[in-house]
């Protein structure tokens, strides 16, 4: 399969735009855009990039990432680290952490997810999704009720708004999920796997 040049070129371009000071500063100005726009966007770009990986490279990675386990370990560890309020603060005040964020989140969360998620056992997938959802709700609740600021760089009011936003997103997610289960809608098999039987056979 020929990978078009555009497919890896675009995410890198957007990544570059995000890393440039104007957009970076605007998104980091508020805790809400930092956590709910910039970080997810970075992870998404990594996912996109992962989809554009050449088959050769994917095949070389596959034996190191059977059932997507290695990739998910990387994803979980990276997510846990970037949930530390301290890490978020450091990303703003220390350039090294900012660089670590811009490289770590796309590659260790986004790309690792795209190379691993659909190889993952469906029970593991369900557990991870449930846990991720619970994390949203827990954090949301924590941010709403906590009397202290967690990040030195953000206001308490913003922390509360973020908390409510997380709870709302989590609730919407739960409703969609419930509907899906009730009406029996199943996950679609992604294109990369469908077009690449050598990968899916290893499941």
């Amino acid at each position: 399969m020929k990978v078009s040049r555009r497919s890896w070129y675009l995410p890198c371009l957007i990544w570059g735009l995000l890393a440039l000071p104007p957009l970076r500063h605007v998104l980091e100005l508020s805790m809400i855009t930092h956590m709910l726009v910039q970080l997810p966007l970075l992870a998404f770009l990594g996912w996109w990039l992962g989809q554009a990986f050449p088959e050769k490279l994917k095949r070389r990675i596959a034996p190191w990432n059977r059932w997507g386990i290695s990739g998910m370990v990387l994803v979980v560890a990276t997510v846990l680290y970037w949930m530390l309020p301290r890490a978020l603060d450091a990303a703003i005040s220390e350039p090294i952490f900012e660089i670590a964020k811009f490289i770590g989140i796309p590659l260790f969360i986004g790309t690792a997810l795209s190379l691993s998620w659909f190889q993952l056992n469906y029970i593991a997938r369900g557990v991870l999704m449930l846990e991720f959802w619970a994390m949203f709700m827990r954090l949301g609740w924590l941010y709403v009720v906590l009397p202290d600021r967690l990040c030195a760089n953000y206001l308490l009011g913003e922390q509360r708004i973020l908390g409510r936003a997380l709870l709302i997103i989590g609730s919407i997610w739960a409703v969609i999920w419930t509907l899906r289960i009730l009406f029996g809608v199943r996950w679609k098999k992604p294109k990369i796997l469908a077009s690449n039987p050598s990968l899916s056979e290893k499941n």
Binding site: S70, L84, A152, L155
Partner: protein, 208 residues
Amino acid sequence: MRTLFLSTLLAIAGLTALWVGTDGGRAFTAETARRLEVREHPKPVPNWHLEDQNAKTLALSDWHGRYVVVDFIYTSCTSACLTLSSGMGNLQREFEKALDKDRLRLLSISFDPEKDTPERLRHHFSHFSGEGKYWVATRPTHVVEKKAILDFFKVTVIPDGMGGYTHTAGYHVINPQGRLVAIFGVEEYSKLQDYLTIALAEGKSNEG
């Protein structure tokens, strides 16, 4: 086999990163990290020059040999600084003896030097019965110096969107050797009292 090897390796690396990133599970926020760091690695405070409420210049090194409690304020503040300042006012009463004997000093530094002129600092003092003798309110005289001071103490100041600021609030203790040795949050006022009582008593016994 390769997957097992790689995922174990990644898990170890991830846990190490989390362990190091939280100072061994002790500091999840930048504020706790700041307090912990000072406790474990006291660092010498550079000799800055500040302008006090009487428009006199004061060098921090003038206060060597004394304990100094530092807080950061701005006079138009309506929240944290009021708590901080009334705490300083309490210290002024409770540690009167130590202050009199020239063993303790209280220092408020304004991070809003453009607005906080010596007059305003004096006015601010009058609300907290600060007599200005042992408790000195100051402002940095230069923008560069202000930044250096805030960076050194790792005090973050952000606009609160209503014309004021939200900032790291706490009491910073400098020991007689001129090192920053402890930071107490506003909520840790009683810990600060205990700390000072012990520290001042120890100093006394050392003097014989």
